[in-house]
């Protein structure tokens, strides 16, 4: 068994599979993970703020940028994590498999780190086209796993810190040793296994496995310098390519290159993509009912306004993006009544937040909160028109909220009630 492991590890050795490469790719992956974590935390707290939290309403594209980065960096994680795992794969077959209880713990933590990271990025990706082939809640699990992933990243860095330092730069001690520039006898590289060398001289493995190993050994060996350069180039080009060909769903500058993203700017009713349709929200009848009126209340003070009455009030036009939690976003021209003018009618003061209720029958965003920083912002509208037309029913007819810098799920469609919170 031990011999088999050692043989496998040796058969897997390749020039890019060395600790310097693991550090180079690992650094990039850590940056991508931290970008995802930071922007993910922001997205989470926008949706579930602690009572004391206030957010910036400028620039209006803030959430478009943070969530666009979340998805772009998240997609970049795919080539980066595969590249990183490529550099360390032979470690899987290290001999002896377990040296001590601490070593077992270390290996278990790596397994958790790898598995949780792969699941995190996979479910994140599938969520961007609303595909949930599992029975757990996406948002809850993605939220929980983000701490598992970042926690095990921290532990991983702590364990490997001496190694990381040895290979941090081109001229670090370990890197130079790897290039054969120093006399350092023992290669402490992770992927230069101590066990592999002696095994090569011992008796060959027989049977099918032996034949496979001979087949592998019989291949011309890779040229180290070309192979390493090729590896770094392939990971770099893959990362640039997957981002460049998808990030156009979030960033207008890249939209001409968007051939693979799940969303495309300018598609859909009112030239805007749709997250949740009126049919899915079960508002096909209530949204077009002649009895519809928007109720605004502040304690006992209540105003009720029909769509015609809302249209008769002073109208404001703003340019605001609709920026989905799923990463796509789209600039649009909205026309409607300033929310703060409606709030003034019921005597709300600028320290008070709002509770918004939609006509939706059910769903996590039927009732949501809005902090005063958004409610009293001059560009926050109860929108009645978009891009020069009446709101499409899929975009929230008869009236929807549009505020700067908030995720699309909080830009409540099919508004029914606005209640000032005490």
């Amino acid at each position: 068994m031990r011999r088999l492991l050692a043989y496998t590890q040796q058969a897997l050795s390749a020039p890019p599979r060395n600790p310097r490469m693991a550090v180079v790719i690992g650094r990039l992956l850590a940056i991508a993970f931290l970008l995802c974590f930071g922007t993910g935390l922001y997205s989470h707290f926008l949706q579930e703020p602690e009572p004391w939290m206030r957010f910036s309403t400028v620039p209006a594209q803030l959430y478009q940028v943070t969530q666009g980065i979340h998805i772009a960096a998240g997609i970049a994680c795919f080539p980066l994590i595969l590249g990183k795992l490529y550099t360390i794969y032979p470690q899987l077959f290290q001999t002896p498999p377990v040296k001590s209880p601490l070593h077992l713990l270390e290996r278990a933590s790596i397994a958790l780190f790898v598995g949780a990271s792969l699941v995190q990025i996979t479910i994140g990706l599938l969520n961007t086209y609303q595909w949930y082939p599992w029975k757990f809640g996406f948002r809850e699990v993605h939220w929980a796993l983000s701490f598992v992933v970042i926690g095990s990243l921290a532990i991983h860095i702590a364990v490997k810190l001496p190694m990381i330092a040895r290979f941090w730069t081109r001229n670090s001690e370990g890197t130079r040793e790897l290039r054969g520039e120093t006399a350092g006898g023992e290669t402490s590289g992770e992927t230069a296994p101590d066990a592999a060398a002696p095994v090569a001289e011992s008796a060959p493995v027989g049977g099918i496995t032996g034949r496979i190993f001979r087949w592998i050994d019989g291949a011309p060996s890779a040229e180290p310098a070309v192979s390493r350069r090729g590896f770094v180039t392939a990971v770099g080009v893959s990362t640039a390519t997957v981002v460049a060909l998808t990030a156009g769903q979030s960033f207008a500058a890249l939209s001409p290159f968007n051939i693979f993203a799940p969303r495309v700017k300018g598609t859909g009713p009112n030239a805007l993509p749709v997250n949740r349709t009126a049919k899915a929200a079960q508002v096909l009848d209530t949204a077009v009912s002649p009895d519809w009126a928007l109720t605004i209340s502040n304690g006992p003070r209540t105003v009720s306004l029909t769509r015609a009455e809302l249209l008769a009030l002073p109208q404001t036009t703003v340019e605001l993006p609709i920026s989905c939690v799923e990463g796509w976003s789209q600039m649009a021209t909205w026309k409607g009544v300033r929310l703060r003018e409606l709030l003034n009618k019921v005597g709300a003061d600028t320290a008070q937040g709002l509770k918004l209720t939609s006509l939706e029958k059910k769903g996590g965003y039927r009732v949501t909160q809005m902090g005063p920083e958004y409610a009293f912002d001059a560009s926050t509208l109860v929108a009645l028109e978009v891009n020069g037309d009446t709101l499409d029913i899929d975009h929230g007819y008869p009236a929807r909220m549009i505020a700067p810098g908030r995720p699309g799920v909080l830009q409540t469609k099919w508004l029914s009630k606005l209640e000032v919170e005490a």
Binding site: A11, I75, F78, L85, Y86, Y89, L92, V114, G115, A116, L118, V119, I123, L125, L126, Y129, Q130, W131, K135, F136, G137, E140, V141, A144, L145, S146, F147, V148, G151, S152, L153, A154, I155, H156, A158, V159, L161, P162, W215, G218, A219, P220, A222, E223, V226, S227, G230, A234, S238, T241, V242, L245, I259, F260, V264, T267, G268, P273, A280, D394
Partner: protein, 149 residues
Amino acid sequence: MKITRVILIVIGLAGLFLGALIMVQKERPDQILGVIVWIGAAIIVHDGILSPLLLLLDVWMRRAGRRIPFGVLAIVQGGVVVGAIMSMLVLPEIYKKSIGTKNPTILPLDYGLNLALFWAAVALLTAAACAIYLRRRRASSPASSASID
């Protein structure tokens, strides 16, 4: 270094604890089991299927490409890697589109066609890179034979 490592371990353990806490607070036991199964499956798919396949592909290419300069082989392998990673991201989209999306603005493109065009572009660029590489190589060492580089 010691202090840094201790701080990182403490942060790490706190993260793991918080993640586990959120998990048990928000998900039912059978859902948590589902997450664990996914994590196990992810490791098996990567370590047990994808990586060995990659090794076989690499060895096969090196054997088949014995007479080809290694630089050319490396460029071709690079092209295959770029195409394969893009395909990994796009094939699930093609499948999801085929079983239907929640509304027509989700996955609106012809992803199969785009992927085919993408592979064609990768092949073209790979061929061009090989041609440039071979020309440079010939220019720099007119005497060298094709099998050394």
